[in-house]
Subunit: 369 residues, 2 copies
């Protein structure tokens, strides 16, 4: 194997793929990146057995072949090189790298031992806007907690139906749901559970690339995200049935309030300073007659804090106690200047939505006093 | 005690003083800030028994008095408040704070238990430029390591003499020394060892304030840094004799090289990737005939790296092995485009200096092979 490419191209590809390469002692080949030159195409691949990422890079090929070397080492090293042409040349079990006045040799392992990243057929394919998926993931992923005992909610639910994709995540204390439109249409309905770690990688690649559209291929147990002609990410899907979360979304409310999102977030943060250590209770009292919400917390050892926030409040007088972290998470991800809060009672889930936008909702379980 | 001040003033003062307030369980009053209103002056003070910081703030005093409350809590809280006037009112053992729609009460402890921060007389006083001290501290402090068994080198040496101040620090593997000029003159000579922690606080305050000059008062066991009329920091001095470090500074060299600082730093970083785990050896080979330095490292399990850097080299052919971290620290703090390297042999300390500037030097002990 022998080829020449620019430092920029090789560096960009290695940054994309090296992130999931581990420091595994039990299966050390998983720490490596597979560098493969075949049919005139140079590709870099890594896998952690759950996720596989491949990046193709442009370059001038002299000799085909394949080899694997430590992904973090070569990524860190290439990142430090000057922006010049780099020559990579495999001799025996050593990769020789030359760039300007830098000369390096890296020992590696034969590509024969590298796990195969499964190929997906194009039977089921959908397209969507990269920016839409990126925003939607940011609004949902934070609500998911990885819990080995409940693998189905350790993933994020993707529900395709016609022109729509609904993305939902929960850790059973709060739930986030975001709707986005597809480019084109999905024929019929399909529900998938995608591992959180996979979507964190998808999000990372979306944040680094400037692509406008994204293609998704779906097979029985695998999904493939194709960011452009160069970068693709394959992942297994989570088996199992996602809980029917629709039933916990409140369909009505006895008290409704519209409030400035950033102001409520600041007030909740100030109340959080007065929570008892390890206890995250913050009380919200709604007073429609006065048009205000009072946010309060007490730690008898330290003091108490009470802040009145102006809010367009309708319906009944009401109060509820939330974990301030969950409330803050919701407010910080609402992506709208004004927030709508809907409440039934102090023992029913509360509903948080952006004002003037029906594409997002966030449900928080109350803390019973 | 009762007064009104702006959120900006109180916030600024609390940020300055709250940093050294601890989370001490054995002496909980050290977690508190002393708020004192006396003679129409509002002051905030904290201490960790080694360092004391006082910030005066402007405000409208209604009633004098003093009280202490948790420093981190009130600092975090005030930081979140809107930029409005804040009213602080002490009733019994509780401080009531009102600002806009925010109402808080914080329980505290009587000021009687708060340790006294010693006052210094103005007998010995020097003035210097704030920016000079800030830069000098950055160039010296990184070389100091806190070692309980050797308290004298766990501090930084300040040597005053006439119009000059020489600041030196070492961890016995490397040494940094910086000279700065005083405003005015110190009558005679004086050597002080100042705790590293004290200077870290001084540096932090210098980085946050925009003062141009700085006044230092020196007493037998105490030093006082007066940043302006509002902020002062008092610290104990370290007892003991600082080692006579002058004798380890090489007075001559057999090989001299002038090299681009950033380029050498990048090359050393690339070589560091190929060091054996836990071993930080990087070899520098000087070749005056070719006008170059070769930087190399080998980890037989991983590979090797060799980079040739152009350098104006004079004197003998020579080589030396350094800990790459110490070399990088020196290069990163040199503050000049070109670096001068002086070498006697592979078993003598190496000397690093900024080109065209005599105010800084950095000595590194070699690693003997």
């Amino acid at each position: 194997m022998k080829f020449i490419c620019t430092q920029e191209n090789l560096n960009k590809g290695l940054i994309i793929v090296s992130h999931i390469a581990g420091r595994s002692a039990t299966l050390p080949i998983l720490n490596n990146v597979l560098i493969k030159v075949s049919g005139g195409v140079i590709s870099l691949s890594t896998t952690n057995l759950e996720i596989g990422i491949t990046a193709k890079i442009r370059g001038k090929v002299t000799k085909e072949g394949e080899f694997t070397v430590q992904a973090k080492l070569i990524a860190d090293y290439i990142n430090l090189l000057p922006k010049e042409n780099i020559e990579l040349d495999l001799e025996e079990q050593t990769l020789f790298i030359k760039c300007d006045n830098y000369k390096t040799s890296i020992k590696g392992v034969s590509a024969n031992d590298f796990p195969l990243i499964p190929a997906l057929d194009e039977r089921e394919s959908v397209n969507l806007k990269a920016g839409d998926l990126k925003n939607a993931l940011a609004q949902v992923m934070f609500a998911v907690a990885v819990d080995e005992s409940r693998p189905e909610i350790s993933g994020v639910l993707f529900s395709f139906s016609g022109k729509n994709l609904v993305i939902a995540g929960t850790d059973s204390y709060r739930l986030a749901e975001r709707k986005i439109g597809l480019i084109g249409e999905y024929p019929g309905e399909r529900k998938l559970i995608i591992p959180l770690r996979t979507l964190q990688e998808v999000y990372r690649i979306l944040a680094e690339s400037e692509d406008e559209a994204l293609n998704i291929l779906i097979n029985d147990n695998q999904i493939l995200f194709k960011f452009n002609e160069e970068i693709s990410l394959t992942s297994r899907l989570v088996e199992g049935q996602y809980p029917d979360y629709q039933q916990i979304i409140p369909q009505e409310s006895r008290t409704q309030a519209k409030v400035k999102t950033a102001e409520l977030a600041r007030v909740v943060k100030s109340a959080s300073l007065f929570c008892k250590p390890g206890i995250n209770d913050v009380k919200l009292s709604f007073d429609p007659a006065k048009g205000e919400i009072t946010v309060s917390s007490v730690n008898s050892a330290v003091g108490e804090n009470k802040v009145v926030v102006a809010a367009e409040t309708t319906g009944e007088k009401n109060e509820v106690v939330f974990n301030y972290r969950y409330l803050l998470d919701g407010l910080n991800n609402l992506d709208s200047e004004e927030a709508l809060l809907g409440l039934i009672s102090d023992s029913a889930p509360g509903l948080l939505k952006p004002a003037g936008n029906q594409n997002y909702l966030y449900v928080i379980m109350p803390i019973r006093q």
